[in-house]
């Protein structure tokens, strides 16, 4: 902390008295798009293919759920992740499956499919059926998979932020080398839980990476109408946490940044990453999205992470167009099968209402 002595005029017309300044230099990392090749990242062609397939699966799954919502197969809210798939796929590729943990908010289908939850259990959950990943109790906003270490799916904005630090705390406590990634929206930054938790994470040196998925809007509120400081990666300064800014439309940039930050976490240094992205659809199904122009939307669609990866693959002759087309067919078939699966899965019977509330089997519920 450099202290500089200088003389300056007081702002309010008081006598010209001397005061000093304290100068600090901050450095953040920046991961722009189109900077990393798959070989920079040490990814094989098979890896690239898997990434592409995974992003495509998320896209098609959600397009299909939108359709099913229209047919009233799905109730409640449905928040689509379309446009943001490079974040889920890119970041999950930085994790050790079966060891590391993820947790996110209610826009959770993408992350769920990225960590390997099946289309079937996800679609069945949307349909509210017993074979759903949450037994039909959670719905779109509450996908969970203990097996895949996907800790939800959370509907209260900001409420999962402390959970993530707790998950990381347990990793550290058990010394199992695991790390937790917590995804939050740009809108969630302004919940108190963000502030409290990032300080705790830094104080306790927890193995956690906080990822802000900045898709420019929280419902109808553009980032600059909610944030006094719109460079969200700077929030880490308050907690002595390293911060990075990442282009979220390039899956390789995401992957590289998350590898670096996950490595930091594994060494016991929590950090904050702002990934800039965009959601193509409305906030939820009922949102006409009047707060943005068509032009803005179209322009962003040009940066589409899936098309971008496709171009990259083709330009670099990694996979043939024909092979990609086959992938597309395969993914569509998987999604269609999940709709059939969901439709055939039974609705939970009334008695199920009392299941899953307590671990205690004979809890004496009030019945009148």
């Amino acid at each position: 902390m450099a202290v500089t002595k200088k003389r300056a005029v007081a702002t309010n017309g008081l006598p010209d008295i001397s005061y000093e300044t304290i100068e600090t230099q901050l450095t953040f990392r920046h991961y722009p798009g189109d900077r990393f090749t798959h070989s920079d990242l040490g990814l094989s062609v098979a890896d690239v293919r898997d990434m592409y397939r995974n992003m495509l699966l998320q896209r098609r799954f959600e397009e299909r759920s939108a359709q099913m919502y229209g047919r009233q197969k799905i109730g409640g809210f449905l928040h689509l992740y379309i446009g943001q798939e490079a974040i889920s796929t890119g970041s999950v590729y930085a994790l050790k499956p079966g060891l590391d943990s993820v947790i996110t908010a209610y826009r959770d289908h993408g992350i769920a499919l990225a960590v390997g939850m099946s289309s079937n259990e996800c679609m069945a959950e949307l349909f509210g059926r017993v074979d759903g990943c949450s037994n039909g109790k959670g719905g779109s906003m509450h996908f969970f998979s203990k097996e895949k270490r996907m800790f939800g799916g959370h509907g209260i904005v900001g409420a999962h932020i402390p959970l993530a630090s707790g998950i990381a705390f347990a990793h550290k406590y058990r010394e199992d080398q695991g790390v937790c990634i917590c995804y939050i929206g740009d809108g969630a930054v302004w919940q108190g839980s963000f502030h409290e938790t990032l300080n705790l994470a830094s104080l306790y040196k927890l193995p956690v990476v906080y990822v802000i998925e900045n898709n420019e809007y929280a419902m109808g509120t553009a980032v600059d109408r909610a944030a006094a400081e719109t460079d969200l990666f700077k929030q880490g300064v308050s907690y002595a946490m390293p911060g990075s800014l990442v282009d979220g439309m390039d899956v390789f940039s995401v992957c590289q940044s998350m590898r670096d930050h996950v490595a930091l976490a594994r060494e016991g240094q929590p950090s904050l990453v702002e990934i800039r992205t965009y959601r193509y659809r409305g906030h939820s199904m009922s949102d006409p999205g009047k707060y943005r122009t068509k032009d803005e939307l179209e322009q962003k669609k040009n940066e589409d992470p899936i098309l971008r990866l496709k171009s990259y693959i083709l330009e670099n002759n990694l996979i043939t167009v024909e092979a990609l087309d086959v992938l597309d067919v395969e993914v569509k078939a998987e999604v269609s099968a999940s709709v059939t699966f969901a439709d055939e899965s039974p609705m939970p019977p009334p008695e199920a209402i009392y299941e899953d509330v307590y671990t205690q089997k004979d809890f004496p519920f009030l019945t009148h």
Binding site: G75, G76, F77, G128, R129, S134, G136, K137, G138, G139, M141, H142, H154, G155, I156, V157, G158, A159, G187, A188, W190, Q191, G192, S193, A218, M219, G220, T221, R225, A226, A227, K290, Y291, M347, P348, P349, P350, A352, I353, Y354, V357, F365, L366, T367, H368
Partner: protein, 327 residues
């Protein structure tokens, strides 16, 4: 009488009051540019400008408290919660500051503020988005709590709430925002806080229900009417203070009572109403007070389960028959 949607009636109340009093402003998430998540405040930003209709970040604790500070310093805020589920992060401001500072300051600082938004179940939204909060707030002295069931009450009571110099928790309903109903066109129409409404007179049984539950009470009364029994239906409208006189008077006539309350049962408004009835009309009761509530579980997502979770008109009907010893 004009026919208005519930959301329009609420808006009309805010607009009439804001036209009348410059000190009133509306603040909340998406209330301005977006015209309200449920379009309750549609057009208000255009009418009053961004000085008086104000969007917030997702910082419920912050803006609830900001509203309270503004009230301490002479303004009359209306704070909208997108739903009351999202007010749990702000509850400290409401129950520790709104409810208690007047007292702790020896009456120096008042809180002419309204916190409003939809309460209770709204369908397949799962457990965190379906909580009923009336009992939680009503137990705190210092607050007033209103829960409305129709456009006319909404308008008359919201105008009273805005004018009231005490903090008011005002509970609406997503499911009812589109519901239409006749609204008085009387100039400056207000309904006094703390007065129940006898929606239907009868002598066979008293059914009490607020907010959506009021409609279940009415439906059950219709079913009983087909059986030849006249149920008295009371909408308490205000939960704190509660209009005990109206309820006790009714129970002394009907000698039995069923309370409908879509909250979880334990320590609910229904519990309190039952306590008061047995305390104040013990000798008049021919049967124990019954209640019909949501199940004693979190709210599930699945359609089959959430329907079972909620109190139904049939449940109310059967409870009435039970206290009438007809089962």
């Amino acid at each position: 009488m004009a026919e208005l949607q519930l959301r329009e009636a609420i808006r009309a109340a805010m607009v009439e009051e804001m036209d009348r009093d410059e000190d009133i402003f509306l603040m909340g998430e998406e209330v301005a540019e977006y015209n309200g998540a449920y379009k309750v405040s549609e057009g208000m930003r255009e009418r009053y400008g961004e000085r008086r209709v104000i969007d917030t970040p997702i910082s419920e604790n912050g803006f609830a408290g900001l509203g309270l500070g503004a009230a301490m310093n002479g303004l009359r805020p209306i704070i909208e919660f997108m739903t009351w589920n999202f007010a749990f992060v702000a509850i400290d401001q409401i129950i520790n500051n709104a409810a208690k500072i007047r007292y702790m300051s020896g009456g120096q600082f008042s809180f002419p503020i309204v916190f409003r938004g939809p309460n209770g179940a709204a369908g397949q939204l799962a457990a965190t988005h379906n909580t009923s909060v009336e009992a939680l707030y009503s137990c705190f002295p210092g607050l007033k709590v209103i829960s409305i069931s129709n456009p006319d009450d909404a308008k008359g009571l919201l105008k009273s709430a805005i004018r009231d110099d005490d903090p008011v928790v005002f509970l609406e309903s997503e499911f009812m925002y589109g519901m239409r109903g006749e609204v008085s066109e009387a100039e400056d129409y207000t309904i006094p806080i703390g007065k129940a409404r006898i929606a239907r007179e009868g002598d066979a049984v008293t059914i009490i229900g607020h907010n959506k539950s009021y409609w279940r009470a009415l439906e059950a009364a219709d079913m009983l009417a087909k059986d030849g029994y006249a149920a008295e239906v009371i909408d308490p409208r205000t939960i704190r203070p509660f209009d005990w006189d109206t309820v006790i008077h009714s129970v002394k006539k009907t000698n039995r009572c069923v309370i409908v309350d879509e909250s979880n049962p334990f320590a609910s408004v229904a519990s309190e109403v039952a306590f008061q009835i047995q305390a104040r009309a013990f000798d008049d009761l021919d049967a124990p007070v019954h209640r019909v509530t949501a199940k004693d579980t979190p709210a599930p997502y699945a359609k089959s389960l959430i329907e079972y979770y909620m109190p139904s008109a049939e449940d109310v009907y059967h409870a009435c028959r039970q206290v009438m010893y007809l089962n």
